[in-house]
Amino acid sequence: MDEPRRPVRFRALLDALVDGGVDFVVVGGVAAVLEGAPISTFDLDIVYSLDPDNVDRLGRVLRDLEAVYVDPAGRSIHPGVEHLGRGGHHLLRTRSGRLDVLGSIGADQTFEVLLNRSHVRSIHGKTVRVLELEALIEIKEDVGRAKDKAVLALLRETLEQREVTE
């Protein structure tokens, strides 16, 4: 049966991940916004640590969030720890909206690699790691998808303006 679709609740998703002790870095559109770029997105993208304990914690959080894979056939397939442990891209619907859970992005940029290119931000009292704008730009340049190219100019301009104001 097709799961009901709900608008994303960024704070609820971030709270669930942080409270569940998941090691992750926010990437994608939300990272760009937190870094100051005025862009829009309808989902939250994270890269998570593939450490087995972390994968277990992530699995528990995703169960609580009633996560299922985005499936054009409308099946309710739940992400299992075994699948999450293999990395890859897990595009999910949850009771707090769309959540993309990624083992890596770009050219094999895993959680461990991205850790060194992320800032710690405090969001409503929760500590969240966010990919820095420079890394976001580099990864989007490497990937070179049409939708990434469209937003690159805005990200570069944000970086330029930030350097002027800081």
Binding site: R11, V33, L34, P38, G97, T158
Partner: protein
């Protein structure tokens, strides 16, 4: 009456169109810069709240 030869016609209309497009582009660039400057005055929580407002306004099941 002889028809005007498109090859020898003035480039003026095309130049006007090009000028108009450049003007629109520069207006868009200025608008983007204003948006960025405004966003940079906010803290991360406020930026996330603005994004959430956008989602709440424009989300449709197609996004879901």
């Amino acid at each position: 009456m002889q028809k005007p030869d498109p090859e020898t016609e003035s480039d003026e209309p095309q130049e006007k169109t090009r000028g108009h497009l450049l003007s629109v582009e520069s207006q868009e660039a200025a608008h983007d810069r204003d948006l960025i400057r405004s966003s940079l005055t906010l803290d991360p929580e406020e930026r996330l709240a603005v994004l959430q407002d956008f989602v709440d306004t424009f989300w449709t099941p197609q996004h879901g």
